[in-house]
C-alpha cells in the first residue's frame, strides 16, 4: 500500500500523461476543422475533452490507490461477473402473471395509438425480431456476424421483387423469403465456418456490403437506388387500402366500417407481435433443446466440443442459417410496412445497430434483447437532437460493455429441472 502523498503524485502524473495524450490524439481532428483548403480553429473542443480525460483519469488513479475505491472498481470489473447462476425450477408467481399481461397489452395497445406511435412501435418490433435472430448467431452460437443486414435485405427484396416479377403476395413471400435468406446464409456460411471464427466476421462484413452494392448497381433487376415497391399484407384477400389495388375487396368496405389508414398498421403490428411472441417462445425452447445446448457449449469451448464428437461445422451452420432466416422474416415485415424499399436502408450502420442491440441486451438473454431493442429504437425517436451522436454513443457503449460486462447486463440464468415434479 503506497503512502497517500505518493499516491496523489502518481495520480497527478497519470492524469497529466493522459491529458497530453488526449490532446495529441484529439487535437488535430476535433480542433482543426477542414473548410475547403483552410482549417477553422475549434481548439476549445479538444481542450475541454482533454480536461475531462485528465479529471477522469485522476479520479480513477486516486480510487485505485484507496482500499474502498479498489473494492468499488472491483465490483464493476468483469471477473466479478463470472460463474453461472441457476434459476429456480418453477418461476416465481409474479413472473407467471407477467407473460399473459404482456400479451394482452400487445394485443390491445395498437388500437389506441396514433399512426406515428404505431409506426415507431412496428419499427421497434422489427428490431426486436432482428435482435432475436442475430442473438441466435452471436449470443448463443458465439459467431460474430457483421453483415446481418444482408439477410434482412434478402427478405425485404424477396417480397418486393417477388411481387414485381412473380406476383407473390405477402403471405406467400413470407415463408419463401425466409427460406431464401436461410439458403443465402448456408451458401455463405458453409465455406467460412470451417475456419477460425474471426474470418466469419470479416466475410459477413464484406457480404453485407456486397449485397448493398449489387442492389444498388443492378438497375434492370432491382431498380438500383430508385428502389422497389412492396405490397401490403392482406387478411384472406381483404386489402387495407382505400381502394383495392391487387384485385381484392378493401377491408373497410367488406365490414362496412369507415376507412381508417391506421388499419393497415394495426394489422401489421398484430401479425408482427404474434411472430415476435412465437419467436421468443421458440428461442426459449431452442435453448433447452440439444441443438441450443450444443450452440452454447461450442461458444464456450470449441476444442472440447469437437473432442466430444460434435460436428462443429453443421452445428454452427444451423445457427447461422436460423439467424439468417429470422433476418429474412424481419425484412419482409420491413418491406411491407414501408411499402417501398431502397438500398440505403441496408447499410453497415443497420448491422452495427442490430449488433449493438444484441450486445447491450446481454449476449444470449432474450429479455435483455427485447428491452435493448425497444430502448435503442424508441429512444432515438424521442431524442432527435442527439441523433448526430447516436453512433458515437453506441460505439462507446459496446466497448464499455465488453470491458465491464462481457456477458451482458442481465445475468443469464441456467434452467434447472425439478425432478420431483417430473415424476
Amino acid at each position: 500500500m503506497a503512502k497517500p502523498a505518493s499516491a496523489l503524485t502518481k495520480s497527478l502524473l497519470d492524469a497529466l500523461f493522459s491529458g497530453v495524450l488526449a490532446l495529441v490524439v484529439l487535437g488535430p481532428i476535433s480542433g482543426l476543422v477542414l473548410n475547403g483548403y483552410q482549417v477553422r480553429n475549434e481548439m476549445q473542443r479538444p481542450l475541454l475533452l482533454a480536461a475531462a480525460v485528465m479529471v477522469g483519469r485522476f479520479l480513477f488513479s486516486l480510487a485505485l490507490a484507496t482500499e474502498r475505491g479498489r473494492s468499488l472498481l472491483g465490483a464493476l470489473s468483469a471477473r466479478a461477473q463470472q460463474g453461472v447462476t441457476v434459476a429456480e425450477a418453477s418461476p416465481p408467481r409474479s413472473l407467471r402473471l407477467a407473460t399473459p399481461l404482456l400479451l394482452a397489452a400487445g394485443l390491445i395497445l395498437p388500437f389506441f395509438l396514433s399512426k406515428y406511435f404505431l409506426t415507431v412501435l412496428i419499427l421497434a418490433m422489427i428490431y426486436v425480431l432482428l435482435g432475436l435472430g442475430l442473438n441466435i448467431v452471436v449470443g448463443l452460437a458465439g459467431l460474430l456476424d457483421l453483415g446481418y443486414v444482408a439477410f434482412y435485405a434478402v427478405g425485404a427484396y424477396g417480397l418486393a421483387l417477388g411481387s414485381q416479377y412473380l406476383h407473390l403476395g405477402f403471405w406467400t413471400a413470407l415463408p419463401l423469403a425466409a427460406l431464401l435468406a436461410a439458403a443465402c446464409g448456408g451458401l455463405l456460411g458453409f465455406p467460412v465456418l470451417r475456419m477460425h471464427g474471426d474470418y466469419l466476421a470479416i466475410v459477413t462484413l464484406g457480404f453485407g456490403e456486397i449485397i448493398r452494392l449489387v442492389l444498388n448497381n443492378w438497375l434492370d433487376f432491382t431498380g438500383g437506388p430508385n428502389g422497389a415497391s412492396a405490397p401490403p399484407p392482406t387478411l384472406f384477400g381483404l386489402e387495407f387500402s382505400r381502394a383495392a389495388k391487387y384485385g381484392g375487396t378493401p377491408f373497410h368496405e367488406y365490414f362496412h366500417l369507415e376507412y381508417n389508414p391506421n388499419y393497415k398498421f394495426i394489422f401489421i403490428f398484430l401479425i408482427l407481435f404474434a411472430v415476435v411472441s412465437l419467436m421468443v417462445l421458440f428461442v426459449g425452447r431452442l435453448k433447452q433443446m440439444p441443438m441450443g445446448r450444443t450452440w452454447e457449449a461450442l461458444r464456450e469451448d470449441e476444442i472440447a466440443c469437437r473432442s466430444l464428437g460434435i460436428n462443429h461445422v453443421t452445428v454452427k451452420l444451423s445457427a447461422f442459417m436460423m439467424g439468417a432466416m429470422v433476418g429474412g422474416v424481419a425484412g419482409v415485415f420491413f418491406a411491407t410496412y414501408q411499402g417501398f424499399i431502397n438500398p440505403t436502408s441496408f447499410s453497415f450502420f443497420e448491422s452495427a445497430l442490430i449488433l449493438a442491440i444484441v450486445v447491450l441486451g446481454g449476449l444470449g438473454s432474450t429479455v435483455g434483447i427485447v428491452l435493448a431493442a425497444l430502448v435503442l429504437t424508441i429512444l432515438p425517436e424521442m431524442l432527435r437532437d442527439f441523433a448526430e451522436y447516436r453512433v458515437l454513443i453506441f460505439g462507446v457503449a459496446m466497448v464499455l460493455m465488453m470491458i465491464w460486462r462481457p456477458r451482458g447486463l442481465i445475468r443469464i440464468k441456467r434452467r434447472s429441472f425439478d425432478l420431483e415434479g417430473l415424476r
Binding site: P28, L32, L34, G142, V391
Partner: protein
C-alpha cells in the same frame, strides 16, 4: 486486348496494391501477435487521411513554399499522431480484454471502429474533403499513341512503400525489438516467461501497424485528393483480403497479397466492369479462404489446446 493498356493497368494496380499492402501490414501483424482482427484499423487509415489534409493546410498557412519540405512535415505529423491513435486504441479497447471471452475483443473492436468513424464525422462534418494537387506530371514510355505512363505520385507511392517496407523488415529482422516481436508472435506465454514485456510489444505492434496505415493514408490522399469519413470501410476489407491472400501473419505476404490484389482489381475494372470491382475483391477473399486459407506465404494454422 492491347498490350500497352494491359501494362498500364498493371502499373496502376502496382501503386494501388502498394497501398493495400501498407494497410495490410497492420492487420497481419496484429493478427499474428494476438490472433484477432483489428476492425478499427481501417479507421486509423481514414484518420491519417484527415490528418494529411489538416497538416497540409496548417503548413501552407505558415507560408512554407518548398513542396518536399512540406511533404516531410505532413508525413511526420500524420505518422506521429496516427501512431498515438494506434497506441490509445490498443490501451483502451483491447488490453483490458486479454483473457476475456473469445468474442469480446471483436465486439470491442467494432465498437471502437464506430466510435472513430462517428467521432470524425461529428467533428469534421460529413461532407467530402479535398486537398490541392501538389505533385503534377508523369513519366511516359512509348510512342505518342501507344504508351504506358506512371504519374509522379504513383512513382512516389512505390518508392515510399519500398522504403517503408525496407525499414520495417530491418526493424523486425535485425533489431532486438524485432526479435522480441517475433518471439511474442510465436508464443506469447513463453516470451513472457523469458522476460519480454509482452504488453509493451503488443502496443508496439499496434503503433507500427498504425504508422504504416498513416503512410498509406498520406500517399492515397496525395494521389486522389479527395476523401471522406467512410473510406475506412471498403479499403479496410480489401487490405484485410490482401493480408489473407498473402498469408496472415506474414509481412512479405501482406505486401505480395496487396500487389496481387491491386493488380487483379485494376485488370478487372479495366477490362470487365468498374461497378463491381469491390465485389471482385470480396469474391477473391472468399475463394482464398475456401481453397488456401493459409494464404500464399502463410503457414497452416494449428489450434493449440
Amino acid at each position: 486486348m492491347e498490350l500497352h493498356i494491359f501494362a498500364q493497368q498493371l502499373l496502376n494496380g502496382l501503386s494501388l496494391g502498394a497501398i493495400y499492402g501498407l494497410i495490410a501490414i497492420g492487420y497481419t501483424m496484429v493478427y499474428g501477435i494476438i490472433g484477432m482482427i483489428n476492425f478499427a484499423h481501417g479507421d486509423v487509415y481514414m484518420i491519417s487521411a484527415y490528418l494529411t489534409a489538416i497538416a497540409m493546410s496548417v503548413v501552407f498557412s505558415f507560408g512554407v513554399d518548398s513542396v518536399p519540405f512540406a511533404l516531410l512535415i505532413i508525413l511526420a505529423v500524420a505518422v506521429l499522431v496516427t501512431a498515438a491513435y494506434g497506441w490509445v486504441i490498443e490501451r483502451i479497447a483491447y488490453r483490458p480484454l486479454r483473457g476475456s471471452t473469445r468474442l469480446a475483443p471483436l465486439i470491442s473492436a467494432i465498437g471502437m471502429s464506430l466510435v472513430l468513424q462517428s467521432y470524425v464525422q461529428v467533428s469534421q462534418g460529413a461532407r467530402n474533403q479535398g486537398i490541392p494537387t501538389l505533385i503534377k506530371g508523369s513519366l511516359r514510355i512509348g510512342s505518342d499513341t501507344k504508351f504506358v505512363q506512371m504519374t509522379h505520385i504513383q512513382l512516389l507511392i512505390v518508392a515510399v512503400t519500398v522504403a517503408a517496407m525496407g525499414a520495417l523488415t530491418f526493424v523486425i529482422q535485425r533489431t532486438s525489438l524485432g526479435r522480441q516481436c517475433r518471439a511474442t508472435q510465436q508464443d506469447r506465454k513463453m516470451a513472457g516467461i523469458l522476460g519480454i514485456d509482452t504488453n509493451r510489444i503488443i502496443s508496439t505492434v499496434f503503433v507500427i501497424g498504425a504508422s504504416m496505415a498513416a503512410v498509406a493514408g498520406v500517399l492515397v490522399t496525395l494521389n486522389y485528393g479527395s476523401f471522406d469519413f467512410s473510406i475506412d470501410f471498403i479499403t479496410g476489407i480489401k487490405a484485410f483480403t490482401a493480408a489473407v491472400l498473402g498469408g496472415i501473419g506474414s509481412l512479405p505476404g501482406a505486401m505480395l497479397g496487396g500487389v496481387i490484389l491491386g493488380m487483379s482489381e485494376a485488370l478487372f475494372s479495366g477490362f470487365v466492369n468498374t461497378d463491381y470491382k469491390d465485389v471482385f475483391a470480396f469474391v477473391l477473399l472468399v475463394v482464398v479462404l475456401i481453397f488456401r486459407p493459409s494464404g500464399l506465404l502463410g503457414k497452416a494454422e494449428f489450434e493449440k489446446v
